[in-house]
């Protein structure tokens, strides 16, 4: 070794701290060899071990009646009736996408899909939640094109529709874009397959792609220590996805599950074979002996550690009873996913890596050498946990700095200026405009179950063979989160679930991807801690289990940390897919109703980003009981058929919500909004727990009665019709003459729907310089 020449000891170069090395020695009862150290270094990474976040995540509400699998499994699974269950999970691929946007995003899709079919579920949908820096920056544009291309390139080819997601631009993501991908699958309940390795004597079968030197990353120092002539910088740290191989892997895996040929199934992701064997063994309380020589490779001269930690894509590990091996191999080969027996389940609780063969009882064959031997738990459930220090920033509520804000098109409407101009700027701005440029690159219809795609609001899928439907969305209130990470996380849950509820669907559970900064920075860890607290409180208040998720830390660049971004994914169930609501206004003469009431606070809003925020102005408050009531109310209104158009009030406020209903419906409306405080709060404020609904005037009373029963304010704003959106601001009549009831208190918004639609449709390509 080069240790003598190099003052930096190997463990540190592998990213293992001195106290972590002590903990490893403690668990082994001896010093690790280089291979073992490499295996620990990847398994004890933040990504695999959750060593900073695990204690926080334990506080989240999990489980509940319909939850078949919760956090800790590859994906959460919730029972939905008819003998069916739905699997879903969200995961980040931020750092790979920052380096190589196309392949980073593509392999992100591949990875999350494997989490779904590993459980025995057929993937039926993908959603992508994306965050980038300034869209006018060439580097950002390159990232956007690459990431969107990669999500589509992979998802389209594997034949899973990409039905929704998000695209948000904020300068904080400039050096560190976020690529979070959610996948959903469906399966008969009894197909549930766990990623465990039960039954000593069973075979460990690796199938799919061969193993190469992909994703060795930082651990390549081990190779350079041995092969001085081999420049580690030449080693690919980027992985290339093969969606075609994944498609075959899906079919092979599902056939294995359907025919009950496997005792356990685990995908290979981060930390490759090491992770797959140690996790499956630890879950089952068994051990696994791996025969290094039996692992099919696509490169020559691979070192043991490279084979063990390679992150080559499109591979699966199956635990197979010896008598079923022939069938398993036949299925895999037929689907073009070659299989190899690479080891055996043992009873000794250890992950053992051997070269030279393994005997039938799992012990090393005669003349074989043991290269590594580690308790499976030491690599997984008993990995190190760090108690990080949390400290709020000196100024609790750092309001966004006033001054010039991101401007879409030259002249920026100032505070108090023509509200119509503000609305056009919001609707046509990079964050408000239609995402068509993105979702047209995604196959949204394959599998022919997409009832409503990403064109507006949450996506709806039918469940074949039943009357039911699934509704899915992702959401995050990163703006508020930047001001108050607790509130931001709770708000994210409220928004995501509201997005689902406005369709009429009952949210089933929450998956989340916590994108935060460097946890060794007390402020970043405080943000994470507050975020998890907000997530937990909101889920408890709304009666929802957290079924799984993912934590992505160290989202920082020389330009600073990202806004704390707790991305929330929600899946909901529609009892009758024909009974659902969508944002679009449908019919002339329908009554426009606002459920809920605006509260003050423009901090963190799109309006504040556009027009500059008052430094004293904080974010709006969130009343979780009110939120629950509003959502219950709209679900009932849709289920009873009273309401067929509904849109939640979120980014861009009430005026934006109305504009979207008008644009999507191709029909205008005339409404009056009663103003209590500042007109900007009523029009563009983003206080939560509000929904715009449209109904037949004949049903208005029924809707009012329903709202009253839920304790939710319901106010008729006006009427659908015409080709213009007119929003008049009138006094509420609470105070003096100037705000006399019905008196105009500000200029009204009066814009042709076609102008709104034009701004909305062209906003994104224009922002990206793609408006050809």
């Amino acid at each position: 070794m080069t240790a003598a020449r190099d003052p930096e000891p190997l463990h540190r170069r592998l990213g293992v701290s001195d106290d972590e090395l002590d903990a490893i020695v403690d668990r082994l009862g001896r010093a690790p060899n280089d291979l073992e150290l490499a295996m620990f270094s990847v398994m004890w990474s933040e990504h695999c071990s959750y060593k900073s976040s695990r204690p926080l995540l334990r506080t989240l509400p999990v489980g509940g009646g319909d939850v078949l699998a919760g956090p800790g499994e590859n994906a959460g699974i919730v029972r939905i009736g008819d003998g069916l269950a739905v699997a879903f999970k969200i995961e980040s691929h931020n750092h790979p996408s920052a380096v190589e946007p196309y392949q980073g995003a593509a392999t992100g899709v591949g990875g999350i899909l494997r989490d779904i079919f590993t459980m025995g579920a057929r993937p039926i949908a993908v959603l992508d939640a994306l965050r980038f820096g300034d869209p006018s920056d060439e580097r950002t544009r390159h990232l956007v094109r690459g990431v969107v291309g990669g999500v589509g390139g992979y998802g389209n080819c594997v034949g899973v529709p990409t039905i929704g997601g998000e695209l948000v631009f904020d300068p904080s993501y400039a050096g560190n874009p976020l690529v979070n991908v959610m996948a959903i699958g469906i399966m008969p309940e009894d197909r549930l397959t766990l990623a465990a390795a039960p039954g000593p004597g069973n075979l460990a079968v690796l199938f799919g792609s061969t193993t190469g030197r992909d994703g060795i990353g930082g651990a390549s120092v081990l190779a350079s220590a041995t092969f001085t002539d081999d420049d580690p910088s030449k080693r690919p740290s980027v992985q290339v996805g093969d969606p075609f191989a994944e498609k075959l892997l899906i079919e092979a895996s599902l056939e294995l599950v359907e025919r009950r040929l496997v005792a356990g199934l685990q995908d290979l992701g981060a930390a490759g074979i090491t992770c797959a064997v140690s996790e499956t063994a630890d879950r089952a309380g068994t051990g696994i002996a791996v025969d290094l020589d039996a692992i099919p490779r696509r490169e020559w001269g691979m070192l043991p550690f490279e084979v063990m930690i390679s992150e080559s894509q499109e591979r699966m590990l199956a635990i197979v009873e010896p008598r079923l091996l022939g069938d398993v191999v036949e299925v895999c080969e037929r689907w073009g996913a070659p299989a190899a027996v690479i080891g055996r389940v043992t009873a000794d609780g250890h992950v053992t890596v051997v070269t030279g063969g393994i005997a039938a009882d799992g012990s090393p064959a005669d003349g074989a050498a043991v290269l590594a031997r580690i308790p499976a738990s030491a690599l997984t459930s008993d990995a190190i946990v760090h108690a990080r220090r949390a400290e709020p920033p000196a100024r609790r509520r750092a309001a966004p700095a006033p001054g010039p804000a991101a401007e879409p098109d030259g002249d920026l409407p100032e505070r108090g200026m023509d509200p119509g101009a503000v609305l056009l700027a919001l609707v046509g701005g990079p964050n408000g405009a239609s995402r068509r440029w993105v979702w047209e690159q995604y196959d949204r219809h394959v599998q022919t179950s997409t009832v409503a795609d990403a064109t507006g609001g949450a996506a709806v899928l039918r469940i074949r063979g039943t009357r039911r439907g699934l509704v899915a969305t992702t959401d995050c209130a990163e703006g508020v989160s930047g001001l108050d990470p607790y509130l931001g996380a709770a708000m994210s849950v409220a928004e995501a679930t509201r997005n689902v509820s406005v369709t009429g669907a009952r949210p089933l559970g929450v998956t989340n991807c916590l994108n935060y900064g460097d946890p060794t920075r007390p402020e970043a860890f405080w943000q994470l801690r507050e975020g998890v607290r907000g997530l937990g409180d909101a889920c408890r208040a709304l009666g929802l289990p957290v079924t799984g998720g993912n934590v992505s830390l160290y989202n920082e660049s020389p330009r600073g940390a990202i806004l704390p971004t707790p991305e929330i994914g929600v899946v909901g169930l529609l009892e009758d897919v024909e009974r659902r609501a969508a944002p679009a206004f449908r019919r002339d003469g329908d009554a426009v109703v606002l459920l809920g009431r605006a509260g003050p606070g423009l901090g963190g809003s799109r309006y504040a980003a556009l027009a500059g925020a008052d430094p004293e102005d904080g974010p709006p408050t969130l009343d979780l009981a009110r939120e629950a009531a509003v959502q219950a109310c709209i679900r009932e209104a849709v289920a009873t058929g009273i309401v067929r158009s509904a849109q939640d009030v979120a980014a861009g406020g009430l005026a934006t919500a109305l504009a979207e209903c008008a644009i999507l419906g191709g029909i205008g409306a005339r409404v009056e909004v009663a103003v209590e405080g500042a007109p900007a709060v009523e029009l563009f404020g983003e206080s939560p727990s509000r929904i715009v609904a449209a109904c037949d005037p004949a049903d208005l009373d029924a809707l009012r009665v329903l709202a009253a029963a839920h304790g939710v304010p319901a106010e008729r704003l006006g009427t659908v019709g015409g080709d213009r959106l007119v929003i008049a601001l009138v006094g509420r009549g609470a105070t003096g003459a100037a705000e006399e009831r019905g008196a105009r208190v500000a200029d009204e918004v009066d814009i042709a729907v076609s102008d709104l639609a034009h701004a909305w449709e062209h906003g994104l390509p224009r922002a990206l310089g793609e408006d050809a």
Binding site: G152, G159, F244, A245, L248, E440, Q441, H445, V446, T448
Partner: protein, 260 residues
Amino acid sequence: MTVRVGVVVFPGSNCDADAMHALALEGAEPVALWHESPELLGVAGVILPGGFSYGDYLRAGALARFSPVMRSVADFAAAGGLVLGICNGFQVLAEAGLVPGALVRNRSLRFVCREVTLVPERLDSPFTIAVGERRPLRMPVAHGEGCYVADDATLDAIERDGRVLFRYSRPDGTPAIGPDDAANPNGSLRGIAGVANAGGNVAGLMPHPERATEGILGSDDGRAIVASLVRSAAARAGGAARVVGSTGAGPTQRATGATA
């Protein structure tokens, strides 16, 4: 007697199940045809479904063309059997030379998934007889390499011979001839969305009729195309004499054909 229609399953096909579903809706019996097998299992018509056969690596459809099943499909087509290639299936047919022209990358260089309108150019082909009248049909496209190209002589010839089955159009049915027309999703020459071979029994179509077969999916205009295929196949199968006798037509096919 339900008519059996085959759906080829290549590795990487991903609309095979959707095509089978659409066939079943039209009362046909869908039969999966595995790419490794030359047996056509006595079907009276064949669909090459959408997807990414063999990953669409190299060129879309290029590798699928050489699979064992395609030899049988070529023989089946040569003997007058009905073959409809949808999206990737169209690409496979073009690569195999079973329909004229080629499909190259969309002019935008981006994958495009959107609802388009197309108009049938003729109503008497086996793939359009159930359409009834010359009306605009709405259905989605979803492809990265769907730009139809051929040299001018070929284009003139297929137009003259009535082998252009469908063209992209504006919502009102006006054909979107120009490659840069907003209603032409991929820049196809002369707005061509679907073509037939000289015999009229093999057709390629870029849009997805099988994705537009139920109102809940947004449109059921695709049913007319699927129904045309099923009806035409049934008519041919009905004449039991019309059994394909070439090399690709295995004994199974002969037997089933005779009983149909």
